[in-house]
C-alpha cells in the first residue's frame, strides 16, 4: 500500500451499493488505504437496513489494516445532533472534506481519491487541488471491469438493486405487521367501548 495515497469515501451510497451487491472487497482491489469519515460510518450503520450495515461492519473488522474510520469535528457535531434529534443530512460529505484537509496538510506529497455517488458528482464543483482526484461508484466499477477484476458494472449495480428490493420487502412486511396490530387494537378498543 502507498501511504501517500488515500481513498476517501464521501457518502454512504457507494458502501451500501457494494455491500448489498456483496462486493465490498472491490474497494480494496486498488491496494489503496480506505478512509471512512466517522460521520459517514455512523450514517450508514445506524439505519434500519441491518443487512447492509451488518456487512459493512463485518467487512471493516476483517480489513482493519486497510480500512479505517477517521474521527472528525463534524462527527462530534453529528453525535450531538443525533442525541438532540436534529437533522444530520449531508454531514458525511463535510466530514470527508475535513478528513481530506487533514490528510493533505499532514503530508505535502499526499494524494487523495474522493469516492462520490454518481448523480451528485455531475452537479457540484467539488475541490479542486491538483493533489485531489475524484471517482464515482460507476467510474470505480468500470475501471475494475476494464481490468478484468469484476464481471461487469451493470451486474453489480443490478445485484445491489435486486437485494435492496428484498430488504425493502422485508421492511414492508414489518410495517404491514405493525399496521395490522394497530388495526386489531383499534377494533378491540371499539368493541370495548360498546
Amino acid at each position: 500500500m502507498n501511504p501517500g495515497f488515500s481513498l476517501i469515501v464521501t457518502d454512504t451510497s457507494p458502501l451500501i451499493t457494494l455491500a448489498l451487491a456483496g462486493s465490498l472487497d472491490a474497494l480494496l482491489r486498488p491496494g489503496l488505504p480506505v478512509s471512512i469519515p466517522d460521520a459517514v460510518y455512523v450514517e450508514e450503520t445506524r439505519i434500519r437496513a441491518a443487512a447492509g450495515a451488518g456487512e459493512i461492519v463485518e467487512w471493516m473488522n476483517a480489513h482493519l489494516d486497510q480500512v479505517r474510520i477517521v474521527p472528525t469535528e463534524i462527527g462530534i457535531d453529528q453525535q450531538r445532533r443525533l442525541e438532540e434529534g436534529r437533522p444530520t443530512r449531508a454531514l458525511g460529505e463535510q466530514a470527508a472534506l475535513e478528513v481530506l484537509d487533514r490528510f493533505l496538510e499532514g503530508d505535502p506529497a499526499a494524494e487523495a481519491l474522493l469516492l462520490f455517488e454518481d448523480s451528485d458528482i455531475a452537479r457540484r464543483q467539488v475541490i479542486i487541488d491538483e493533489r485531489v482526484s475524484l471517482i464515482t461508484t460507476g467510474d470505480f466499477l468500470r475501471e475494475l471491469e476494464a481490468a478484468g477484476l469484476i464481471q461487469s458494472t451493470d451486474y453489480i449495480l443490478g445485484r445491489a438493486a435486486e437485494r435492496g428490493r428484498n430488504v425493502e420487502r422485508q421492511r414492508q412486511v414489518g410495517a404491514d405487521a405493525t399496521m395490522r396490530l394497530r388495526l386489531r387494537r383499534q377494533l378491540q378498543e371499539r368493541e370495548d367501548r360498546k
Binding site: 502507498n2 495515497f5 457518502d11 454512504t12 451510497s13 451500501i16 451499493t17 448489498l20 482491489r29 486498488p30 491496494g31 489503496l32 439505519i47 434500519r48 437496513a49 447492509g52 443530512r89 449531508a90 481519491l113 455517488e117 454518481d118 448523480s119 451528485d120 458528482i121 455531475a122 457540484r124 464543483q125 467539488v126 475541490i127 479542486i128 482526484s133 475524484l134 471517482i135 464515482t136 461508484t137 460507476g138 467510474d139 470505480f140 468500470r142 475501471e143 475494475l144 476494464a146 481490468a147 477484476l149 449495480l157 443490478g158 445491489a160 438493486a161 437485494r163 435492496g164 428490493r165 428484498n166 430488504v167 425493502e168 404491514d176 399496521m179 395490522r180 394497530r182 388495526l183 383499534q186
Partner: protein
C-alpha cells in the same frame, strides 16, 4: 408499485387505517411521487441529494425502489464541471490496479 398496495392495509399521517381501498390513499399518492423521483434518478435527471431532501431516509430505500421498478442506480456520464478531476481519478485508479495486478 401502486397495484402492490391495492386491497392491503395502510394508514395515513393521522393514523387513520384504510383497508381494501380501491381509490388512492394518501400513502399511495406518496408512492406515485416516490416512483417518479426514482425513475428520474435512474435516468440521471435528479440527484441522490435531491432524493434525500424529498424524503428518502437512506440509500437502501433508493436501491429497493429501483429494484422494484427493474431499474439500476445511474452511472454519471464523464462530463460536467468535474470531468478533469474524474479523468485524473480514473487514471490514478487504473495505475493502482495495474500495480496490484503486476505485483
Amino acid at each position: 408499485m401502486l397495484a402492490a398496495y391495492a386491497g392491503s392495509v395502510c394508514s395515513d399521517s393521522r393514523n387513520v387505517i384504510y383497508m381494501g381501498m380501491t381509490m388512492d390513499t394518501p400513502n399511495q399518492v406518496i408512492d406515485q411521487r416516490r416512483e417518479k423521483l426514482l425513475r428520474d434518478y435512474a435516468a440521471g435527471k435528479v440527484s441522490w441529494s435531491t432524493l434525500r431532501r424529498r424524503g428518502f431516509d437512506d440509500y437502501v430505500a433508493v436501491l429497493g425502489g429501483l429494484g422494484a421498478l427493474g431499474l439500476r442506480p445511474p452511472v454519471a456520464p464523464l462530463e460536467g464541471v468535474n470531468r478533469a478531476a474524474r479523468e485524473r481519478g480514473r487514471a490514478l485508479l487504473r495505475r493502482a490496479l495495474a500495480r496490484q495486478v503486476s505485483s
